[in-house]
């Protein structure tokens, strides 16, 4: 067995043992343990768990690679997936924590005094989480297969068994503390190669500073050199954008608003003891997320420059060793179209005054940027094993958080609150466990047999969350007048509009999916922002022409807005 595989087995094996140990130590004894970890998680621990919950296989493996091909436009992911935490901390988390109970549908059902509103919310929650979780299980399988040479199917099954063990046994309590451990594994795995590469490129180990520094004492800034090389090869200038401003604006906004509306993130803030702790843990969460999110764009730049320098017009026979290895996996593919034996890697923007560009011959999968980084930088085998364990930690922690929301939605919102309110705590816990188990199996199935649309559904999840949950929760807190008719009409119209737009361009007419046909030039990724406006406007209009929300709702809203100690106890 080669050293990389051996190290991967050792490090991944150790981390799995740790997760299982933690899960056994923190079993759930009641529904309160199972749904919200007993409501007693310290705010730093919750911040760590939220960060692991939030950062998925896509953040860990895919994001840096995606940004390195997008250049400045990649900022929409960076801002979108962090800026949402400001909205969450200021507009949602403290109030929802003060409201208490367990879930987002709980709040929507009570605030809008309506079972119908609750059920619409449950369906949205389950749909959003399922679209997401399938991708995570797939991520687990892919990491296993690439690093351990096992079949994707077996990778998914091992991942399922592990998640099943700690999510079903420990519920939120087990998940929270395994997520804390998973954050530590994933951030360590992400940062170690980043330090090394930053030092190699700019002589400064801090990636955030290094990517604004000089390239290997050449007297030229790294970004300047990359801009020059990119433009010369026809990829355009790296630090300039190529998408339209309105599209970048809408995508960024939709990702921010969607982040704030994602149920598996919101529910994490129910697990702390106090409202002030909910606010503080939002700060910790963003801090821990920001460590990865500010490093990722630096890695994108280093990796892009390394790639362009290393492969362009290099004779294939002299290509570096990593090129060879990743060609074998199919993640890099090269076809010598002009039979000159050189690797021609070119874009489509012909630079002015230069001879015509050669035809592009190279395809590079975006996941490779993080996966191959340690090899490109010639780091030791254990670092590569570490990256594999980090990718697994990122995928497993997110999958577990999502599965928990699904099981809570089924057991609590559907069974307890809608079908049979007389369930005892024990019965409800049992249903929650069965639901979690069932959800693991369904997610695993889709991980092994991914539907074609998996890649496009991420936009769906954010768009739906932005156009459904976010507006109704905000209106529920900041407007006493908003009534159930308005909220239901708003949710349904927001979702319908967003879903229809995405389905039309992504599934029905993919050939029309370009700026020429888009509404105001907004891509399906960004349409959630417009869906949000639709939701607000329709809700406001319907509310104007229907009876005001009843008196006890105004009191409920008051009790959510102010510290509870401001009112008399009864």
């Amino acid at each position: 067995m080669d050293p990389v595989q051996l190290w991967t087995f050792i490090i991944a094996g150790l981390s799995f043992t740790l997760y299982i140990y933690i899960a056994i130590r923190s079993r759930a004894g009641s529904t309160k343990d199972f749904y919200v970890a007993g409501g007693g998680v310290p705010s730093i621990a919750n911040g760590l768990a939220t960060a692991a919950d939030w950062m998925s296989a896509a953040s860990f493996l895919g994001m840096a690679g995606a940004i390195s091909t997008m250049g400045r436009d990649g900022g929409c992911y960076l801002m979108g997936w962090t800026g949402g935490y400001v909205l969450l901390a200021l507009l949602l988390a403290p109030y929802l924590r003060r409201f208490g109970k367990f879930t987002v549908p709980d709040f929507i059902g009570d605030r809008y005094y309506s079972q119908a509103a609750r059920i619409v919310a449950v369906i949205c929650a389950i749909f959003v989480c399922f679209t997401y979780v399938c991708g995570q299980m797939r991520g687990v399988g892919v990491v296993f297969s690439r690093f351990l040479n096992v079949d994707v199917t077996w990778g998914v099954i091992i991942g399922m068994a592990l998640v099943f063990f700690y999510a079903v046994l420990g519920g939120m309590k087990g998940i929270t503390y395994t997520q804390v451990a998973q954050y530590c594994v994933l951030i360590f795995a992400f940062m170690v190669p980043a330090f090394f590469i930053a030092f190699q490129m700019a002589g400064n180990p801090i990636p955030q500073i290094a990517f604004g520094g000089e390239y290997k004492d050449s007297g030229q800034f790294i970004l300047e050199r990359l801009d020059g090389l990119s433009a010369q090869l026809g990829f355009g200038t790296y630090t300039d954008g190529s998408k339209s401003t309105i599209d970048v604006f809408c995508i960024t906004a939709a990702l921010m608003l969607g982040t704030a509306g994602l149920p598996h993130v919101i529910v994490r803030f129910y697990t702390v003891k106090k409202v002030s702790a909910a606010r503080t843990s939002a700060f910790w969460a963003l801090l821990f997320i920001a460590i990865l999110y500010t490093t990722a764009p630096a890695i994108s730049v280093f990796a892009r420059l390394n790639l362009l320098e290393a492969v362009n017009e290099t004779p294939r026979v002299e290509a570096p060793q990593w090129f060879e290895k990743w060609s074998d996996t199919g993640l890099i593919s090269w076809q010598d179209k002009n039979n000159d034996g050189l690797i021609n890697y070119t874009g489509t923007v012909q630079p002015a005054g230069a001879p015509p560009l050669a035809e592009n011959e190279l395809t590079v999968d975006k996941d490779i940027i993080v996966l191959a980084n340690p090899e490109i930088a010639q780091l030791p085998a254990w670092v590569i094993g570490l990256v594999a364990a980090g990718g697994l930690a990122a995928a497993l922690s997110t999958a577990a958080g999502l599965l928990l929301v699904i099981s809570t939605a089924v057991a609590h919102d559907l069974f307890k609150k809608t079908i049979n309110p007389n369930l005892t705590d024990k019965q409800e816990l049992k249903i929650a466990r069965i639901a979690a188990g069932g959800a693991v199996i369904v997610a695993g199935y889709f991980g092994i047999h991914p539907p074609d649309f998996v890649a496009s559904v991420v936009a769906f999840a954010f768009g739906l969350a932005a156009s459904s949950f976010f507006p109704v929760i905000v209106m529920g807190i900041f407007s006493k007048r908003m009534n159930k008719e308005g909220a239901i009409a708003g949710m349904i119209s927001g979702i319908t509009f967003t879903a229809a737009y995405i389905i039309y361009f992504k599934f029905m007419n993919p050939e029309l999916n370009n700026a020429e046909h888009w509404l105001f030039g907004i891509s399906p990724e960004g349409i959630g922002s417009i869906g949000l406006l639709v939701n607000f406007v329709i809700a406001g209009l319907v509310c104007k022409f229907t009876p005001k929300a009843p008196e006890h709702i105004a009191q409920l809203v008051n009790s959510v807005r102010l510290p509870r100690d401001a009112y008399a106890k009864d």
């Binding site: 007993g38 800026g83 200021l90 367990f102 970004l223 401003t245 401001a566």
Partner: protein, 101 residues
């Protein structure tokens, strides 16, 4: 009707202040991200951060906005803790049970 430990006036003031904070903080949030990182990015890109290779707009979109977000949540935490104490006579808001209401 039971006597509340705070006056209706104090409660109204608390909420007004809270809304003011939100308005200010969210305006900064908008300007730092969707403003500096998207709408005015080309103008800001004409400026380079001294001593680095960063164009200002690019840096705001990929680094600066995230740091601003972190600062905003930090300030919000401090402001709200202070506001809670003002309302509750120097005390903090107590612990609460997850399931009670």
């Amino acid at each position: 009707m039971k006597e509340h430990p705070t006056t209706a006036e104090a409660r109204a003031k608390y909420w007004r202040k809270n809304i003011t904070y939100l308005f200010i903080l969210l305006s900064i949030w908008f300007m730092a991200s969707l403003g500096a990182g998207v709408l005015f990015v080309d103008e800001l890109d004409k400026i380079t951060i001294p001593g680095t290779g960063f164009k200002l707009g690019f840096w705001m979109a990929q680094q600066g906005s995230i740091l601003v977000f972190l600062g905003l949540i930090g300030v919000y935490v401090l402001l709200m803790n202070k506001l809670d104490k003002e309302l509750l006579d120097g005390k903090e808001e107590g612990e609460m049970d997850a399931s009670d209401h």
